[in-house]
Amino acid sequence: MVLRLWYGCEVVSGVMSLGNAPLHTPLTLVTCLIEPGLRSRLATLGLRTGSPLEVVLTTAGHGRVIGVAGSRIAMDVSVLRQLHVKLASGGE
């Protein structure tokens, strides 16, 4: 099943916002609905489409710490909402 978001990007079912993704579960980044400058910055930090990642912990203020390529990146809710992931196993 294919859903169409308001950004006009196609997202397959089983895809969730990074803000809603389960903790300590291998994930894969599906889409980055983010302005180009920040998207490029996330890419340099290792967060590109197809990158493996996991949510390490939830922080005060509803942010999250994301584990990617051995590093830890703290993000706030607004960024988490715009990153879409799916379970790395392909579970939908």
Partner: protein, 652 residues
């Protein structure tokens, strides 16, 4: 870029490092890869920190003496620590400056790109972009111990082959690998610059498509370099850092730990520094003053003006500067420890949501907290903020935090006028201070700072590390030296100016031997006193203490004691005489509305210019123009609030 050419345009308090044309070596890299640590290891204590000419972007520069490969005398290189940058696609003014300096008309002779061995792939993005240009490049690999702990082994020879530039493994925290780095830099310096790496042909494509293709090409190049040069043993990754983060960043424990850390910082900058300040104060006020006075007498130089100028002016002024030294030292050491350990980035995450409402990142909480101890280190602590406009906004808010010097006056006034309610009044002043910080922040955010970008939080958390003593001391000393150099001139000049005003007789008498009430100082105080009539304290004796408070809030009580010719309660005298005089003065100027006038005075005292040392610190951090805009803002806010308090209070 040579030392001569870059220094010639230098200003904003950055002194010349050397007069000779030393080759300039730029140190570039992402934040938290050990860039500044390497810079400190190379240049030692002689380095200087300041703003790049025409910008408010901070940078450091210093000299690196290396053993020459060809000559017997050492070679001197000028090293610039560029602002941290993940790539050459700038997202902030700091990153824009880094790009301009690396790729501009006058590029550095050699660029040392620092890459983090534990996160090699993402560190190489900047290197990939640098390799697209004609330049002399050396790649320094840091954090190899952290990488080894994670089972990652890096082969520098293979990496060198993949990158096309010399690669050196270094540990700047322990200063290992620096000799190899010096040799590589000299070899590269002696050779022509390497041709850029080959890029796909994209000139005919639209910009967006072009940048995507180039980005993909860079990541492919990085993947190849990483796979050629690293072997991952897949050792069990230590999750100690994650376990600490669960506590430090937790919804409940995170804010509590943060408050405890801030309490520690606050205590250290007040309780620990205070006795040291008293010792220095005693030394300048008693020991040194007594010694100088006896020398002057022995030399027969007993003219009052000379005595006043040397003792009250120079010694008083320099004493004022140096009594801040312990406070600033403790502050800079704590900042270095918090940053080096990795905690500062976590603190920024905890407070980010709250500070974002003022348009500031979470880190801005620290300077504001420190400001409640003393505004001067609070202003200095704004350096931890990433964007110049954030530093500027925070530096304008710090003076509204109620420092401990103001507390002594609140306590005395509370005791004199409010009796058993004194504690409540003092507490209310701190509440007013917090309200002022928030309200002014929101006001500036909605007006002057309405275009301030509100970047989302994407913060790379550095691994926890044990701070090193040498690095901490080195960083703290460099910052302290820079503060003393830039602040001393302003403070000494203002202290001498106030002494001069108090020494000039206006109704007969001799220069330097005149009652304060008959001096030029009192004439000026009488001139400005009517401004405060609407606030209920328009008498010269009260207005004059506001002038003294401009120099130092600590001096207000002794100034009143001097004006009313009574014992100084802050120096152990009884409060009775001063209490009587203050009651009479406020009663008279307020038209019988004593308490509203006292409250109005307290509010004005809280909100107007903290002291000349704060102004000196602000001038150093945000420049003279914004410092004076800040002074005007504080005076307007203070006056409006004081008038409001008095006028509303007398109606009740």
């Amino acid at each position: 870029m040579t030392e001569r050419s870059s220094v010639s345009a230098n200003c904003h308090g950055v002194a010349e490092v050397a007069s000779s044309a030393n080759p300039v070596i730029a140190v570039a890299g992402a934040p938290n890869v050990g860039k500044s640590t390497l810079f400190n290891a190379l240049t030692g204590a002689g380095a200087i920190t300041g703003n790049w000419p025409g910008t408010s972007t901070a940078y450091s520069r210093g000299l690196w003496r290396v053993r020459s490969l060809q000559e017997t005398s050492p070679m001197v290189l000028s090293v610039i620590d560029l602002p941290g940058s993940y790539s050459l696609d700038p997202l902030s003014p700091d990153e824009e400056l880094t790009k301009q300096l690396l790729l501009g008309d006058d590029p550095p002779a050699v660029t040392i790109a620092i890459v983090d061995a534990a996160h090699l792939a993402r560190s190489l993005y900047l290197v990939a972009q640098l390799r697209e240009h004609h330049m002399r490049l050396v790649v320094a690999v840091t954090m190899s111990d952290v990488a080894a702990g994670r089972g990652i082994d890096i082969d520098p020879v293979a990496l060198q082959y993949a990158i096309g530039a010399p690669v050196v493994i270094i540990d700047p925290r322990r200063r290992s690998g620096v000799v190899g780095l010096a040799a590589s830099v000299q070899q590269v310096l002696a050779a022509p610059s390497v041709a850029p790496r080959k890029l796909p042909t994209v000139a005919h494509l639209p910009y967006s498509e072009r940048s995507l293709i180039l980005e993909d090409d860079r990541f492919a190049w990085i993947e190849q370099a990483v796979s050629l040069s690293t072997s991952d043993q897949e050792a069990a990754r230590s999750d100690l850092g994650d376990r600490i983060d669960r506590l430090v960043l937790g919804s409940v424990s995170g804010p509590l730990i943060f408050l405890f850390m801030m309490w520690l910082v606050f205590q250290a900058t007040t309780v620990v520094a205070s006795p040291l300040q008293d010792i220095l104060d005693g030394f300048f006020a008693d020991t040194l003053t007594g010694w100088v006075e006896s020398v002057l007498r022995a030399l027969g130089w007993d003219a009052v003006w000379l005595h006043g100028l040397i003792v009250a002016g120079f010694i008083g002024g320099i004493g004022s500067v140096l009594t801040f030294a312990p406070l600033m030292t403790i502050m800079f050491i704590l900042l270095a420890l918090l940053e080096d350990s990795g905690y500062l980035a976590r603190a920024a995450v905890i407070t980010d949501r709250m500070m974002r409402r003022l348009g500031l990142p979470g880190q801005a909480f620290l300077p504001l907290i420190v400001g409640f101890g003393c505004n001067v280190p609070g202003i200095a602590a704004t350096r931890i903020l990433p964007l110049p406009r954030q530093r500027l906004l925070t530096a304008l808010l710090v003076p509204f935090t109620s420092c401990t010097a103001r507390l002594t006056v609140y306590l005395m006034i509370g005791d004199v006028f409010f009796g058993r309610w004194a504690g409540t009044v003092v507490f209310a002043m701190y509440v007013v201070s917090i309200v002022l910080v928030v309200a002014t922040g929101l006001l500036l955010r909605a007006t002057l700072w309405r275009t301030l970008p509100d970047p989302p939080l994407v913060l790379d958390l550095p691994p926890y590390q044990r701070p090193t003593l040498r690095l901490t001391v080195s960083v703290a000393w460099r910052k302290l030296k820079s503060f003393l150099q830039s602040a001393s001139g302003i403070i000494v000049a203002v202290v001498i100016a106030v002494w001069l005003l108090q020494a000039v007789p206006m109704h007969g008498g001799t220069f330097g031997e005149v009652d304060v009430a008959d001096s030029l100082y009192a004439v000026i105080a009488r001139g400005i006193a009517p401004v405060f009539s609407l606030a209920g304290f328009g008498s010269w004796d009260i207005a004059s203490t506001l002038l003294v408070g401009f120099v130092a809030k600590e001096a207000v009580i002794s100034s009143w004691a001097q004006t009313y010719a009574v014992n100084d309660p802050s120096a152990g005298g009884t409060i009775a005489g001063m209490s009587e005089a203050l009651h009479a003065s406020f009663e008279q100027t307020s038209g019988g509305h004593l308490l509203p006038a006292v409250l109005a005075f307290l509010v004005f005292f809280l909100a107007y210019t903290p002291c000349v040392a704060t102004l000196a610190a602000q001038t150093r951090e945000i420049g003279a123009k914004w410092t004076w805009i800040g002074v005007a803002l504080q005076l307007v806010v203070a006056w409006v609030l004081a008038v409001l308090v008095f006028q509303v209070g007398r109606l009740l």
